[in-house]
Symmetry: C2
Subunit: 332 residues, 2 copies
DNA sequence: CTGAAAGCGCTTACAG
DNA sequence: CTGAAAGCGCTTACAG
C-alpha cells in the first residue's frame, strides 16, 4: 500500500458515480450541456465524498487558458501599489481568477526573462502598472495575451489604458492651495518627462497667473521625499506650499520639514497624491489627491474577462481629500 | 491563413531542429540526459528562432508539480506583510519560482474555498503567514502540499514554522525603555491569547521588578492604533512609555498622541514592532523592534525547495532599532 | 546519443 | 441525456 495517497482525479469521481468522465466534466464545468438531475446529484455526491478538486494545470492545458491573470508592478511594497494589487485581487476573486504578481524589485532584467516566465503560465491576461520594454511587449504580444495598462501617464498604442487623470488631479491640488491664498507653490516629484503631474501643476499655476514655484526632483519613495524636503527647507523663504507627486514623497517631506523645525501647515502647506490609507495617519494628516484605485482595478479586470480587445484610453477623475497638512497662507 | 497565429510548441522546435521532441525536452529541462553538442546547438537555435517558451500548464501536468509556490497572507496592504511578500518573491525568483498570493481580505470564507483554489494549482508548496482553519489545513494536507508557516506565535504541529522570537523581541523593547528610566510602561496590541508580545512585555517587566502598566487592546491597523492612542491619552498620567505591538499600531498611536498635544518622546516614549521601512519616516522617527523578514523568507523558500518535510520550529532573533520616538523618562 | 510512445488530468466535438 | 475517444503540450521510462 502506497503511503503517498494518489491525488483524486475526475476518473475516480466518474467511477464512484457510475458515469463517464465526460458527464463529470459537464456537471463541474457549468457548461450548457444537458445532464439529468439524477446524474448531476451522483456526480456532486461523489465529488463531495472524495474531496475532489480539478487539477488546474490539466484544465489550463486542455482549455488553452488558465484561471490566472498577471499583474506587473514596479514595487509591491509601495502602499499605493499594494492598494492597487489588493484591489485587483479583489476584483479577480469575483471572477474566480487568481493574480500572479510580477514584482520588478527595481531590477527586472532587460531581456524580458521574467515576463516570459509570466506569459508561459497561460494567463487569461496581464495588467501592467509599470512601463514595459519593447522586448517585454513583444513577448506578450507574440503570445497573444490580452494586456491592459493601468496607472500610465498617456495612452499606450494598441492596448487599453486605464488611468487617473493626472493633469486634472494635479490641478485640484494646486487650486486648493491657491484658494488658501498660497502664491509660492513648489513641486516635488519624479523627473520623468512622462509623468504629467509636474505639467499639471505648472499649467494650473499659469492658468491662475501665478508664477511657478521651485521644483525639487526626487525618487518616488519615502527617502526621496525626505531628501527633497531637506533641500526645500533650505529654500523655505521661497515657498509657502508644496505639491508632492506621491503620498510617499509627501510623507518623507513631512519628516524632513519637521526635523528642520518647520511648522506644517503654519509655515508650509503640503499636498500629496495617491490617497493611500496611510495618508490619514501622518502628522499632520495629509491632504492628498486620491486616485480611484478600486474603480480602475475593477474595470481592468472586467475588460480582461470580457475579452474585448479594443484599445481604449479611459481617464478617471481624481478627488481631493482635505486633511490637516494644508492651511491658509500667512499674510505677507 | 489563420489570423490567430498558433502558439509555438516543442513540436515546432523539434521539426525545425530536425530532432525528436524528446531531445528538445532533454536539452531544455537541463536533465542529465546525454545530448550531443551538435543536437543541443540545433535545439537552442530553433528555440531562439521561434521564440519558443514551454507551456507551464503542460509542464505542471506532466511533472505533477508547477513552478509556483503559494503565499497566504492576512492583508497584503499591511507594510509588514508587503515586505514579507516582497522578500518571499525575491527568494522564490532565485529558484525560478513564482509566487501566487492568497490575500485574506479580512473575509476568507470558512469552508476553505479559496485555499482549495490555491491547492488545485499544483503548487510546489505553500507558505502561510496567517492562521489556517482546520478545514483549510485538511485541504492542504489531503493534497500533500508541503506547508511552511511563518510569522506564528508558536509551533504548528506537523509543519515547519519559522518565526521571530516575539518574547525576546518584546523584551528588547521593554529593556530599552527600562534603561531610559521608564517605570510606567503600557502595552498596546491585539487581544489574541496566541500573540506572545503582550506576555513578553509582561514578563520582562516582572523580571525587572516593575509593575505592568495599563493595557490597551486594538486591531493591528493604523486605525486601531489611533483609537488606542486616544484612550491612552486619557490615561497620560499613568504612562511614560508605550510598547506597541506593531509599527502600524505605533503609527496610529503617534497621530492620536499628537492630536492630544502630547510630546513624544518628551512626555511619552513609543516603541513599535516589525521594523518596517516606514517606521523611519514617522514623526518622530519610530524606535522599533525589527523582525528578520528576509532571513525567514529565504529559509522558508529554501526549505520548500529542498523538499525536507521535517517539522521544525525555528526562532529568529529580533533586533532593536533606536530612533527618535524614545527618550529618557522625566524625573518624578 | 536519439526517438516512438505512453501518460499526466482535463475538455469537447462527435456519435449514439 | 451519455460515453468513447482524440487532443491540449509536455516528460520520461524504455528500446534501440
Amino acid at each position: 500500500m502506497d503511503s503517498r495517497r494518489r491525488t483524486v482525479t475526475r476518473a475516480d469521481v466518474a467511477r464512484l458515480a457510475g458515469l463517464s468522465t465526460a458527464v463529470v466534466s459537464y456537471v463541474l464545468s457549468g457548461s450548457d450541456r444537458p445532464v439529468s438531475e439524477a446524474s448531476r446529484a451522483r456526480v456532486l455526491a461523489a465529488v463531495e465524498a472524495l474531496g475532489y478538486r480539478p487539477n488546474a494545470a490539466a484544465q489550463a492545458l486542455s482549455r488553452g487558458r488558465s484561471t490566472m491573470i498577471g499583474f506587473i508592478v514596479p514595487d509591491q511594497r509601495n502602499p499605493f501599489f499594494a492598494e492597487m494589487m489588493s484591489a485587483i485581487d479583489g476584483a479577480a476573486q469575483a471572477h474566480d481568477l487568481m493574480v500572479l504578481t510580477l514584482n520588478a524589485h527595481e531590477r527586472r532584467s532587460a531581456d524580458g526573462d521574467e515576463i516570459a516566465g509570466l506569459t508561459s503560465q497561460q494567463l487569461e491576461g496581464i495588467i501592467s502598472a509599470d512601463t514595459l520594454t519593447p522586448q517585454e511587449l513583444t513577448i506578450i504580444e507574440r503570445n497573444r495575451i490580452p494586456l491592459v495598462y493601468v496607472n500610465q501617464f498617456s495612452a499606450r498604442p494598441g492596448h487599453p489604458t486605464f488611468s487617473t487623470d493626472y493633469i486634472a488631479g494635479s490641478r485640484l491640488a494646486v487650486e486648493h492651495l491657491l484658494s488658501l491664498g498660497h502664491r509660492r507653490i513648489a513641486f516635488v516629484g519624479n523627473e520623468s518627462h512622462l509623468d504629467t503631474r509636474e505639467a499639471g501643476w505648472r499649467r494650473a499655476l499659469s492658468d491662475a497667473g501665478v508664477p511657478a514655484g521651485p521644483v525639487f526632483h526626487s525618487d518616488y519613495s519615502l527617502k526621496g521625499g525626505y531628501e527633497a524636503g531637506l533641500q526645500l527647507a533650505d529654500h523655505r523663504d521661497a515657498v509657502s506650499a508644496v505639491f508632492a507627486a506621491s503620498d510617499q514623497v509627501a510623507t518623507g517631506l513631512l519628516t524632513a520639514l519637521h526635523e528642520r523645525g518647520i511648522d506644517i501647515p503654519g509655515e508650509i502647506s503640503v499636498v500629496g497624491f495617491d490617497g493611500t490609507p496611510e495618508a490619514a495617519y501622518t502628522w499632520p494628516a495629509l491632504t492628498s489627491v486620491s486616485q480611484p484605485v478600486h474603480e480602475m482595478a475593477h474595470d481592468a479586470v472586467a475588460l480582461l474577462v470580457s475579452g474585448d480587445p479594443s484599445p481604449i484610453f479611459r481617464d478617471y477623475p481624481a478627488e481631493l481629500v482635505v486633511r490637516a497638512s494644508t492651511g491658509p497662507a500667512r499674510a505677507g
